[in-house]
């Protein structure tokens, strides 16, 4: 491994703002130049001017005298490191001297002897030990004993037998097994409720000076495109939400590679839904009535509402039809939160598959936020 000799104070720096691509490429040393550079690294003392070099040579005689006065010194010994031939090198200038020989090295002869010993031992083991299969203990076969059936209720007694039959009958009548697709829908409804409220829970942790746009999907993942007024705001947001366990994972990708010092970037997070699955009946509502309810909820929260793109979807529930609606609202974060509270209470069966929120790049606070919901509405046929 070649030593990486970095000194950012050296004068051959490239100013990114001034250079052109072609210049950068032409700065790439040729093989010959690289070789020369390496030779220089091994022979010269970099970062020291000629004057200093002269100065450093002068006191060398004094140093010889001083050496006698030097306190006793020792080098740390590492038992597993093998000492090689001593090779002196220049030190001044921050360790720019040549690379010392490799350590922890063992000669090829030792390796050969070790290999030979291992082979001999292996042969001895093969011929002296019993066969491997003989060493493996076979599991004993479990014998299943024939036992007579027993019951806590003495089946011989007629009265008891009748009681047992009644209990069984009652249990069977009370059992309600939902079809798999209904169970799935109920799970989706619970997740959807979580998805609707996530933005508002997270917005409580937005620091001042954070500009964001939010995107959430049914895949359980959330994406924030963020801009900050000053460095450090993203780190503050990250620490706040992680402290409150609002994400399972949250990753930050800065656009400029400056990590928390960035002013632009993206957070990508995943979370687990915590809303319990609700029991009870599913309601049916046609799209027109649903839109009327949505408009009423928007009016209650004093926000603007526009409905767009209403189209039929493919329903997974037998004897139902699905309508996919794209609903857009404008308001402050508090108004939108109030709307969502009302919206959740609409007596219809619907899931929210996507939530998009934010402002246009040209807009800023206190311009209203835009919230778009993708809703799948189920209606009984």
């Amino acid at each position: 491994m070649k030593k990486i000799d970095v000194n950012l104070l050296e004068n051959n720096e490239e100013s990114v703002s001034k250079d052109k691509d072609s210049e950068i490429l032409s700065n790439t040393p040729t093989d010959q130049e690289q070789q020369e550079d390496q030779n220089l690294q091994f022979s010269e003392i970099p970062s020291v001017s000629e004057e200093k070099l002269e100065k450093t040579e002068e006191p060398s005689q004094e140093k010889k005298e001083k050496e006698e006065e030097t306190p006793h010194t020792e080098t740390i010994k590492t038992s597993d490191l093998k000492r090689g031939k001593k090779e002196k090198s220049t030190k001044k200038g921050g360790g720019n001297s040549s690379k010392p020989p490799a350590k922890k090295k063992k000669g090829p002869n030792i390796l050969f002897i070790v290999l030979l010993v291992v082979i001999v031992l292996a042969i001895l083991v093969i011929f002296t030990f019993p066969k491997f299969s003989a060493l493996v203990k076979k599991p004993e076969q479990v014998k299943i004993a024939k036992t007579t059936e027993f019951s806590i209720v003495p089946v011989d007694e007629k009265e008891a037998r009748d009681t047992l039959a009644q209990i069984r009958s009652a249990l069977e009548q009370g059992e309600q097994v939902l079809p798999e697709n209904i169970s799935l829908l109920k799970k989706q409804l619970a997740e959807s409720k979580d998805r609707l409220h996530r933005l508002f829970i997270l917005s409580d942790h937005f620091p001042k000076g954070l500009f964001w746009s939010y995107y959430s999907t049914s895949g359980g993942f959330e994406l924030f495109e963020v801009k900050a007024r000053e460095p450090g705001i993203f780190e503050m947001f990250y620490n706040r939400v992680m402290k409150n366990n609002l994400f399972n994972t949250l990753k930050f990708y800065s656009y400029d590679g400056k990590y928390w010092d960035s002013l632009e970037g993206v957070f990508v997070g995943t979370y687990s839904s915590t809303t319990p699955i609700e029991k009870g009946a599913l309601y049916s509502m046609n799209p027109d009535d649903f839109i009327a309810y949505v408009a009423y909820s928007a009016q209650t929260a004093k926000i603007n509402f526009t409905d767009r793109n209403s189209k039929p979807g493919k329903s997974v529930i037998p004897r139902t039809k699905q309508t996919v609606l794209e609903l857009t609202f404008y308001g402050t974060i508090n108004q939108l939160e109030r709307f969502v509270e009302e919206f959740s209470k609409i007596p219809a069966t619907f899931t929210v598959s996507k939530v998009i929120a934010g402002r246009k790049p040209s807009e800023q606070y206190p311009d209203p936020l835009k919230l778009t919901l993708f809703v799948a509405l189920y209606e009984k046929m």
Binding site: M1, E14, K64, P231
Partner: protein
């Protein structure tokens, strides 16, 4: 010569004296850093005064006249890229943005395979030079702390026999990981740990595709070892419990002893017995400046 490694929480130093061709370590220590080591701090009005005050708190040894300094910086102040070709400027502009790129300079270094590019803010470097000057020091060299650590394992260990291995800096702020294949630096990762969550901040070079999954799992240490092979480790945090303890159970997780091969004054050596292996590794970046005598 006074060698310094600056990191967000600690300033580590090693003072050495040149005697003929040899460099003898005369003193070593650590200081708390009372400010945030990020770019925004260095643009504050009192940044120069605070860095000067930090340098002034370094021990002075008038009889030895150490006036030369070498300084290594953390990944909060430097940005690295490993690439097969030099990076054209138009990519720089996309990556850093028009405004930020104007403030930056970069240097390209040829590696055995590909290029290492380091971006830095010359204003911040000038501030360190000025702060050193205010204290009567001459700043001779500024480099990356993690690259110093790479040079340290290069000097101390014979890594040629490994198909792959890695170097891990375990830090409470910004941890760094370098991957090597056939003794050649192939990948670099900077990540942050926050309440057991891992956040990759800078990934480049030849990094395994599933590395994010590896970092996200609970068995981080085991997965790193299984995926990346032997790990050379050092710590850059001082805590009550040993931060490198989870790695110690594995067959080859070597906590770097940066003092190996260095000549140390006998009086200072006595203090070593009180340090744990993780504490000793705090000086890895600093001691990486010093070329050891041949072993």
């Amino acid at each position: 010569m006074l060698y310094l490694s600056l990191n967000p929480n600690l300033l580590i130093y090693v003072a050495s004296r040149q005697i003929q061709e040899d460099e003898i370590v005369e003193d070593y220590g650590k200081l708390s850093v009372p400010f945030a080591v990020d770019r925004s701090f260095f643009y504050q009005k009192d940044a120069l005064a605070m860095v000067t005050a930090l340098f002034q708190s370094l021990p002075h040894y008038p009889s030895m006249s150490w006036e030369e300094l070498a300084l290594s910086l953390p990944p909060t102040l430097l940005t690295y890229t490993l690439s097969p070709e030099p990076i054209p400027q138009w990519i720089d502009r996309i990556r850093f943005g028009e405004t930020y790129i104007e403030a930056l300079s970069k240097k390209n270094y040829t590696l055995e395979k590909g290029y290492l590019t380091i971006w830095y803010d010359p204003k911040i470097l000038d501030l360190f030079v000025q702060a050193a000057k205010n204290c009567g020091f001459v700043l001779q060299k500024i480099t990356s702390g993690f690259i110093n650590a790479i040079n340290a394992i290069n000097m101390i260990y014979d890594t040629k026999n490994y198909d792959k291995f890695s170097l891990l800096k375990w830090d409470s702020f910004y941890s760094e990981l370098a991957l090597f294949k056939k003794n050649i630096l192939t990948g670099y990762l900077c990540f942050r740990i926050n309440q057991s969550k891992l956040l990759p901040l800078n990934i480049n070079g030849d990094i395994p595709e599933n590395l994010s999954e590896i970092l996200d799992t609970d068995n981080l240490t085991e997965n790193l070892y299984k995926t990346l092979g032997p790990i050379f480790l050092y710590s850059h945090q001082v805590v009550d419990s040993d931060p490198l303890e989870p790695f110690k159970k594995f067959g080859f997780c070597e906590i770097i002893n940066p003092w190996t091969g260095l000549r140390i004054d006998t009086k200072q050596r006595e203090n070593f017995s009180e340090l744990s292996s993780a504490e000793r590794s705090l000086w890895t970046e600093t001691a990486g400046f010093i070329t050891r005598e041949s072993l």
